[in-house]
């Protein structure tokens, strides 16, 4: 087995990998940028080393410095997490070149799937259905417009090196093509250092359904069923489920087999995901993510299989212990992404320092977080604070449990997606499984939710009581720790005790 790992990431996924590694007895080596000195992934690792300033290009994306730390700390392997360098073939190659184990697929696999146009060609050859569109990057805004008119509107522009919705733009009219091309190229350039953009037919109301895969170095590939990730905003996933509420047994099998074909086409080793768009009974290959996904916990909860554990085992050369027919699919799991954004204010990024932090507990609830009291939420990195996952015997139970857990979750000091997620858990279309990637657009009422009268009354009462307690001078805003102001109920109760001088 692998003895030590450098985790080339931060936030909740670094902590997730550290947990998985530690359970296998693997020594964990964290890295941190300057503002992350006191971050949870540093505190929870066995070792931690600085790698530079806040800007990702100078720290978490600095391959030379990461390998230098790996060498000095005696790391035997490197786990990239997701984002940052996770899908950079040159990083995987550099890790291998330094004599270390890269916990992920081979550089050629990453390269094949990382280039979206190359991936399309491979998938078509392997008999995996793809969305109509180009296989070559676009040269200019003018070409974008021309190709779009040929494919037929609406179309979507996507970064060739992309993922996670960055560098993505939907174009519905010829006149918008050139402007959208420019914006997508700038975003892609900033996010991936690669501004190449290609074009595809845009499906109007698709569902985003993806299949989790595991492959080993001995030629075995299994799928762990699908996840439905249709609830998105700005092409970024917000809520994910396993299994999909929509698929029947036959569709599930067809999609799983197509995903396995896709993985075999690129000799896939490790954990990976094939994303599909599903509309009107048809599904199309969207892209393959050659890494762990943010939403992997829902799959872990319905199959009982620890994906990080198997990433390490497969990287160490072990053979997969489970065959396809042995993989269970039990109950239903839902994940909510808790992000530092103001959902009722156009999803504007929110910043702050995490104050009070209340983590939900009890049956069927899992919290994969990357924050602690005192964590500074800035703008340097991804706004994902953590993931709340609920599992139940069926979708209805999982939703009820998630609603309960969201109510328990308390993150002080920074605005989060939590109140919107709570509203979605109550919304009839979501509860009935009537969802698509346009769900949020089609439910604008969610964003104009009034504060209910009882909550408004509580806020008014709290403000008045706090001010009253703080006193006119406001020098010592104290409230007694016992029930204060004393509730009349307490008094009534006390009055049944033996008489006291001030009893009524």
């Amino acid at each position: 087995m692998i003895e030590s790992v450098l985790v080339a990431n931060r936030g909740e996924i670094a902590l997730r990998v550290i947990r998985g590694a530690r359970e296998l007895g693997i020594r964990t080596i964290a890295v941190f940028s300057e503002p992350d000195r006191g971050a949870p992934h540093v505190v929870h690792a066995d070792e931690a080393y600085p790698i530079g300033p806040a800007r990702a290009a100078d720290s978490y994306l600095n391959i030379g410095r990461l390998l230098e730390v790996a060498r000095r700390a005696g790391a035997q392997s490197v786990h990239p997490g997701y984002g940052f360098l996770a899908e950079r073939a040159d990083f995987a190659a550099a890790v291998s070149g330094a004599g270390l184990v890269f916990v992920g697929p081979a550089p050629k696999t990453i390269r094949a799937m990382g280039n979206k146009t190359e991936a399309r060609r491979r998938m078509e050859a392997a008999g995996v259905p793809v969305v109509p569109g180009t296989s070559e990057p676009l040269a200019s805004g003018r070409e974008a417009r021309g190709v779009a008119e040929a494919v037929g509107f609406p179309v979507v522009l996507k970064a060739a090196a992309g993922g996670g919705g960055k560098g993505m733009r939907v174009v519905r009219e010829p006149g918008d093509a050139a402007g959208a091309f420019g914006a997508a190229m700038r975003e892609a350039e900033a996010a991936f250092g690669d501004g190449r953009i290609y074009i595809e037919r845009f499906l109007e109301r698709p569902r985003h359904i993806e299949v989790q895969l595991l492959g080993d170095a001995h030629g075995n590939v299994v799928h762990l069923f699908e996840r439905e990730c249709s609830i998105q905003r700005r092409h970024q996933k917000l809520i994910e489920e396993a299994p999909s509420a929509l698929l029947g047994e036959e569709e599930r099998r067809n999609m799983g087999e197509a995903a396995v074909r896709a993985a075999r086409a690129v000799d896939y080793v490790g954990a990976g995901t094939v994303e599909f768009l599903y509309q009107d009974g048809e599904f199309f290959f969207l892209e393959m993510n050659t890494r762990l996904q943010v939403e992997h916990p829902v799959t872990e909860m319905v199959t009982g299989i620890d994906l990080v554990e198997w990433q390490f085992r497969v990287a160490a050369g072990e053979e997969l212990a489970m065959r396809q027919h042995e993989i269970p699919l039990e109950g239903h799991a839902i994940e909510c992404r808790i992000t530092s954004e103001s959902p009722f204010d156009g999803f504007l990024p929110a910043t702050g320092v995490v104050g009070e932090l209340e983590i939900p507990g009890g049956p069927g609830v899992r919290w994969d977080g990357g924050i602690a009291r005192g964590t500074e939420i800035g703008l340097h990195y991804d706004p994902l604070l953590g993931k709340l996952i609920a599992h139940g015997t069926d979708r209805e139970t999982a939703i009820r449990r998630m609603r309960r857990a969201l109510r328990e979750l308390g993150i002080g000091g920074v605005s989060t997606s939590t109140p919107l997620l709570s509203l979605i858990m109550e919304e009839p279309d979501f509860r009935a499984g009537r969802i698509s990637t346009r769900y949020l657009e089609e439910h604008p009422d969610l964003f104009h939710a009034e504060v209910p009268p009882s909550a408004r009354r509580a806020l008014v009462a709290a403000a008045a009581l706090l001010e009253h307690s703080a006193g006119s001078g406001r020098a010592s805003p104290r409230i007694r720790r016992t029930a204060a102001p004393l509730s009349a109920w307490t008094r009534a109760a006390a009055a049944t005790d033996p008489p006291r001088p001030n009893g009524r």
């Binding site: 960055k166 914006a183 700038r186 975003e187 900033a190 204010d345 156009g346 504007l348 990024p349 929110a350 910043t351 320092v353 995490v354 104050g355 009070e356 703008l379 991804d382 969201l406 109510r407 979750l409 308390g410 993150i411 002080g412 000091g413 605005s415 939590t418 109140p419 709570s422 504060v451 909550a455 408004r456 009354r457 509580a458 806020l459 008014v460 009462a461 709290a462 403000a463 008045a464 009581l465 706090l466 001010e467 009253h468 307690s469 703080a470 406001r474 020098a475 805003p477 409230i479 007694r480 720790r481 016992t482 029930a483 102001p485 004393l486 509730s487 009349a488 109920w489 307490t490 008094r491």
Partner: protein, 193 residues
Amino acid sequence: MTRSNATSHPGTRYVVSLLGERHDVEVRSDGTIVIDGFRLHASLAPTGPPHTAASRPPLSGEGYSLLLDGTSFALRARGGHGGEWRLELDGRAVEAEVLDPRAHRMRQLSAKAGTGAKLAPLKAPMPGLVVQVPVEEGQVVEAGDTLLIVEAMKMENELSAPAAATVSRLRAAPGDAVEKGQLLVEFAEAEEA
């Protein structure tokens, strides 16, 4: 909750402004509170570790449990200056202002003096980097027109005009790093359509 009636517990009166509405509140010494004429039993208790008066953390909210006629609410609260409180309930943050009735009347009178019809200037809703400014000073814009593109957290955010107006002054240019709340665009009076 009952309609308030005459009582032997005269309380302290406040005007609470919250979510754009004004509420008349009376905190009584018998453990009840009267909100807009309705009387409720109320109990507020901090839930966090005790602090001495001098050691109250000013930078993050403290937790409180509020019982209002028995109904339980978990809040976080942080006090500002002049009766301002920032409250968090069910994941939503709300600003409240608590004044005594006389201070509230004074505030209203002074506000009336300076009312105008000009569109409020656009301020940065979050910190970020200005990527594009597709309008010019003097340009007439419609509601929804993009005024600036600001990059934050690796995403481009388009800031658009809330209503028809004339751009009178641009306070930011591409490449500028802006702080939350920083003035970006000022407007002249709205054009008559």
